[in-house]
Amino acid sequence: MKIAIPVDEKALESNVCVSFGRTPYFLIYDVETKESTFIDNTAAASTGGAGIKAAQIIVDNKADVLLTPRLGENAADVLEPADIKIFKSIAGTAKENINAYINGKLSLLDEIHSGFHGHGGN
């Protein structure tokens, strides 16, 4: 099973990035092999629709689970038909979030925002 997490740096000790669509990297963590792969988020520099493209990257990398602090509705519309489970990440590193997920400490992300579309957000 593979877990995807938006991360600020290419390290397991990196913080989870506050943005899903425009995170610089994604960590893809394989729970069985304990292997970490960091991929560049090519959606980060998009003119628009970064969330859609980032979600496509998550799907193409065959993640089963996404841990993220928040998510826009367009990205959710890509991830849901791909049967990717979305959990709300907690404060802390990517590694801490992986452990929290494995120990059943994370809850499903139930707030999907309608997107910022260049208008900030908070």
Binding site: T47, G48, I52, K53, Q56, V78, A82
Partner: protein, 286 residues
């Protein structure tokens, strides 16, 4: 003669200036291109309104023809397409209707279908033709609506047309000024106002448009926007004072120049200055 009124930010006085210039011109056309928040019609209260829906074309996939090559997904600059589990997903509200995905599809699996994004209203207020563009909330861009508003405008030799532009200096402003004969830049006297004036100053220069500045909300203190104009050798068309009575009339959606003689004189003199500038600029630039 088309005169575009623009400013780098909202609330600087574009609508105040364009509405009142159109009002003192008497026989004129007023076109509200601020399609995200059009408010000129609140002043003119036009009658005999005719409405026309504006559509853009968005892609539609024939699932039987799509082979999942993803050329369209990779092509789209706005990421309006995704390919998930053998299914092409199209995000209408992100699509900018460029038609590129249809061109790059080797299987001809994509066609276009119309989608309504807003409307154009046309009416009359005294002898002023009032046109308003209205973009539905959440749509990607109002450019198709502005395009419609301005392309339908039939130029009559001596008729003055005032184009009330959207705020800022983005694509929708460029679309609004591109056929204008003259640009009126409205500026506030603050440092913030100067920053915003500079944005549109660069824009009108880029478009090689003749232009001048109306200084709005002028106080007795030094006017930073005025200093900017002097420094850059920009024509100052005139000044509108910071005036409670004018502000109140305007806030109540009254056309100040129709309500009070002193404002009629103020805007008439501004209009005279603008008209004097236009042919002058046209001859020097051609």
């Amino acid at each position: 003669m088309k005169i575009a009124v623009l400013s780098g930010k909202g609330g600087a006085g574009k609508t105040l200036v364009s509405v009142n210039l159109a009002a003192v011109a008497k026989t004129s056309a007023y076109i509200d291109c601020d399609v995200e928040e059009p408010n000129g019609h609140l002043f003119f209260k036009p009658v005999g309104i005719q409405e026309e829906k504006i559509s853009v074309r968005i892609p539609k996939v024939d699932v039987k023809l799509c082979n999942g090559c993803r050329k369209c997904v990779e092509f789209c600059n706005f990421n309006a397409l995704a390919y998930i589990k053998n299914n092409l997903i199209i995000f209408d509200d992100v699509c900018h209707s460029c038609g590129g995905c249809i061109l790059v599809c080797p299987e001809k699996a994509l066609t276009e279908e119309p989608k309504v994004i807003g409307k154009v209203q046309r009416g009359v207020s005294d002898k002023i033709m009032v046109s308003t563009g209205i973009l539905n909330t959440g749509e990607a861009t109002g450019i198709p609506i502005i395009n419609k508003l301005l392309s339908e405008e039939k130029p009559q030799r001596n008729q003055l047309t005032f184009i009330d532009c959207p705020p800022g200096s983005a694509c929708i402003v460029m679309e609004s000024i591109k056929d204008a004969d003259y640009c009126v830049l409205v500026a506030e006297p603050t440092l913030f106002g100067v920053h915003n004036l500079n944005m549109i100053y660069e824009l009108v220069n880029l478009f090689n448009k003749p232009f001048g500045v109306i200084l709005n909300k002028c106080l007795k203190e030094k006017n930073l926007a005025e200093n900017f104009c002097i420094e850059k050798n920009i024509k100052i068309i005139g000044r509108i004072p910071f005036d409670n009575e004018l502000g109140t009339l305007n806030s109540n959606a009254e056309i100040a120049s129709n309500k009070n003689e002193k404002y009629r004189e103020l805007f008439s003199s501004l209009l005279d200055s603008v008209i004097k500038e236009v042919p002058h600029e046209t001859t020097t630039n051609t």
